[in-house]
Amino acid sequence: MSLYTLLGALEIGLIFALVALGVLISFRILRFPDLTVDGSFPLGGAVAATLISAGADPFSATLAAIVAGAVAGFVTGWLNVKLRIMDLLASILVMTALYSINLRVMGRPNVPLISEPTVFQLLQPEAIVDYVFRPLLLVLIVIVAKLLLDWYFATQNGLAMRATGSNGRMSRAQGVNTGWMVLGGIALSNGLVGLAGALFAQTQGGADISMGIGTIVIGLAAVIIGESILPSRRIFYATLAVILGAIIYRFFVALALNSEFIGLKAQDLNLVTAVLVAIALVLPLLKRRLVARKAG
């Protein structure tokens, strides 16, 4: 595997680390199975790419993508909290609706970004080549996102959100408006995913209507892989774990697809994902058995 493919894997891994942070908030912290991400990821990409190709400043376009993702998440939360639609179903409804909305936003199935400026091009110094600079900037973005989440979940408000997912009845008895916490949390989660979509479009040469397919599976894979290598319920380590999980996941995918002797091709991506997640799920069990055998 060349340095170029390695850096490419790191680049996509870091973008999906943002998705993984979002999935951590919905699935793990709020225990809300949210599939909206399959729609909010391409929504972020669509909004950013369409705005940029219309001449907007890439920074404002990226910000707009975050807001769009958050609004999508808010709608899912609203359907669940206010209209009492089951959480999973509410997210599927929004995901389905977003497919049409994304087509509307773009006005066609894809919006290429070839010569248009992106946040990466605007910030890139002369001395660094683009395929090195992109992962560098992404590392910075992911670290900032991680630290902001760590900070938030240590505040009174963030603690109330964690409590909401852990024990809703007790949280209400402590005066937490759990409905609003779910709304805010799912919005925050999908805002992160919208950001990931916007950055994906700006690194991969544009937005495409099909770019969201399987986003949730990759996000969950990252969370599960992260948890199996760094099991901890502390927020600092939990956020670190899912970021590492996303990078490791992309690294193994690149390894599998680029090793000539295995003979895997790009169309085998989903198969590789499933196998990786299965391995990550079984890993803790194998570890326990190994420990038990040593002890016995």
């Binding site: 938030y152 240590a154 505040t155 009174q156 408000n157 963030g158 603690l159 109330a160 964690r162 409590a163 997912g165 852990s166 024990n167 009845r169 007790m170 949280s171 209400r172 008895a173 402590q174 005066g175 937490v176 408006n177 759990t178 319920r233």
Partner: protein, 264 residues
């Protein structure tokens, strides 16, 4: 103080399994009084408790806490007035959070939760001092997940949490029923101490007649969604479990004969 007037709650109204859980329940508890509530299954103990906490909305009637009408307020909105310990030790604490995080959550009960640090260094010392009074060694385990604690320990922490902030009423929902006898006794003694220390207005629902007479200063018996017996002071001092049982049987008997009159 609690002032509950003419509460009515009917479950599954209009169906064959219709249950009239509260039928004109009226109960006033003056400030600082410790009331124990007993009654057989289906007497309306839990329903009354859930109505006061806000978990359940009454069909009719009025609930006031210190003169403020809370009848229509959801649980989280009246949480600044109501402290609560659940029957299930797992229900009153967040197992994924640490001991200090649970205490911090209770420390802001009913208050505004902004973006300040949840566990403040200054408060941490206070939590440690509170935990030390339990005599369980928990003061050295502030950063342990509360899920690692036993049921009795968690219930003791729940009691602490309920008394961190002032409340208009403390609701205890058979909070020793799920514990082994020794631990139950420990938690009960702790309850008595904390209630006395903070002079809390308290309503304790219990299955045990012994417990109902041993602690508190007033005992209320519920039957078919109403208060049928209300003893305090000298009258209560002379009572023993058999007396209470006899009273209970008499009340039930009367109720039966009432029904037979109606049917006849």
């Amino acid at each position: 103080m609690l002032d509950a007037r003419d509460l009515h709650v009917t479950f599954n109204a209009g169906t064959p399994i219709e249950t009239r859980a509260l039928r004109g329940m009226t109960l006033a508890i003056p400030s600082g009084q410790f009331v124990t509530v007993i009654g057989s299954n289906g007497a309306g103990k839990s329903t009354l408790l859930n109505a006061v906490s806000g978990d359940l909305v009454v069909d009719s009637g009025r609930i006031e806490l210190d003169g403020v009408d809370v009848t229509r307020q959801p649980v989280w909105e009246r949480a600044d007035r109501v402290a609560r310990v659940f029957q299930d030790p797992m229900a009153g604490t967040c197992e994924d959070l640490t001991i200090e995080e649970n205490l911090a959550l209770a420390d802001t009960r009913g208050g505004r939760r902004g973006f300040g640090r949840a566990v403040k260094a200054a408060r941490r010392d206070e939590y440690r001092a509170h935990l030390a009074t339990l005599g369980l060694g928990l003061e050295n385990r502030l950063e342990d997940r509360i899920g690692l604690l036993s049921g009795g320990q968690r219930q003791a922490v729940s009691l602490l949490m309920a008394s961190l902030r002032p409340s208009r009423i403390l609701l205890l929902d058979e909070h020793t029923a799920a514990l082994d006898p020794r631990t139950a006794d420990f938690v009960l003694q702790l309850t008595v101490r904390i209630v006395a220390e903070h002079q809390l207005t308290t309503m304790m629902v219990t299955h045990s007649m012994r417990q109902a007479l041993d602690v508190g200063e007033r005992t209320v018996m519920l039957h078919q969604g109403q208060v049928v017996l209300d003893v305090s002071g000298e009258q209560r001092k002379g009572l023993d479990v058999p007396d209470l049982l006899a009273m209970f049987e008499r009340v039930r008997g009367e109720q039966l004969s009432d029904d037979s009159l109606l049917l006849g």
